[in-house]
Amino acid sequence: MFPPTSELVQLILFTFFGIMAIAFAIYIVRAKNVFYGAVSLAFLGVSIAALIALEAPLTYGIYSVFHILLYVGATVTFLAVSLVMFKDLEVKIPKGSIGILAGGAVSVLFLITVYISLSQVTVTSLKPINFTILADNILETYWFPLIILIIALLTTLIEAISLARRD
């Protein structure tokens, strides 16, 4: 009749972090000052990492750590710190329902598409992650995208240095 306690706690935590993620996302698009929006993006990132970890702790938990370290720790921090360079960060709050209609239409279309797709998939249970297989996959199967990513990050580093040195 009732799910086991651990699953119930997992469901309550998942709902809590889901509500938090939606609340932070709304704050990002409605905040008067975009600096606070950027700070809110960090909390959104933490909420997303928590949601992913709660989906399957033994399988996707490792990605959540990377999400907090790489995304929240690097990207969002960079965004928030860089915004200090600008003077006027106040934004006019948009009035009008066209944006809300567009967002609502995208959400509904997305969920309808997923609902149609879900009827054609078979549900399979997840196994705990094996790090040896994960490392083999990255280094043997996906070596080319990894090289592209490294080159992209290096060129970005050069670009950032050249931008910082410009008078």
Partner: protein
């Protein structure tokens, strides 16, 4: 838990809508960038939610690792463009 996967898909759908609302309702470049980051987060959540239902283990992790790596690159390049725009125009609003 299949329920968490479906809940995750619903949350990611709502987040994509909020992101598109942010994209379509502002002329501020930084807010556009932040809205695109919301869409990125929701797409990553969707990948994991869908994979938890289907039973994929390694592909979503590898895909998302590459995605956040590219997101880091994209944010820095976009910010460089924003700084150049701000130096030339003196404002953050797109005409």
């Amino acid at each position: 838990m299949e329920v968490l996967g479906i809940l995750g898909i619903i949350i990611s759908g709502i987040l994509i809508g909020i992101g598109f609302y942010g994209l379509s309702s502002t002329s501020n470049i930084i807010r556009v960038l932040l809205s695109s980051e919301i869409i990125l987060n929701s797409s990553i959540l969707f990948v994991f939610s869908f994979s938890s239902i289907v039973g994929m283990i390694y592909k979503p992790i590898i895909f998302s690792l590459f995605a956040i790596g590219m997101a880091l690159t994209e944010v820095i390049v976009a910010f460089a463009a924003i700084i150049l725009y701000y130096r030339q125009k003196g404002k953050l609003e797109v005409e």
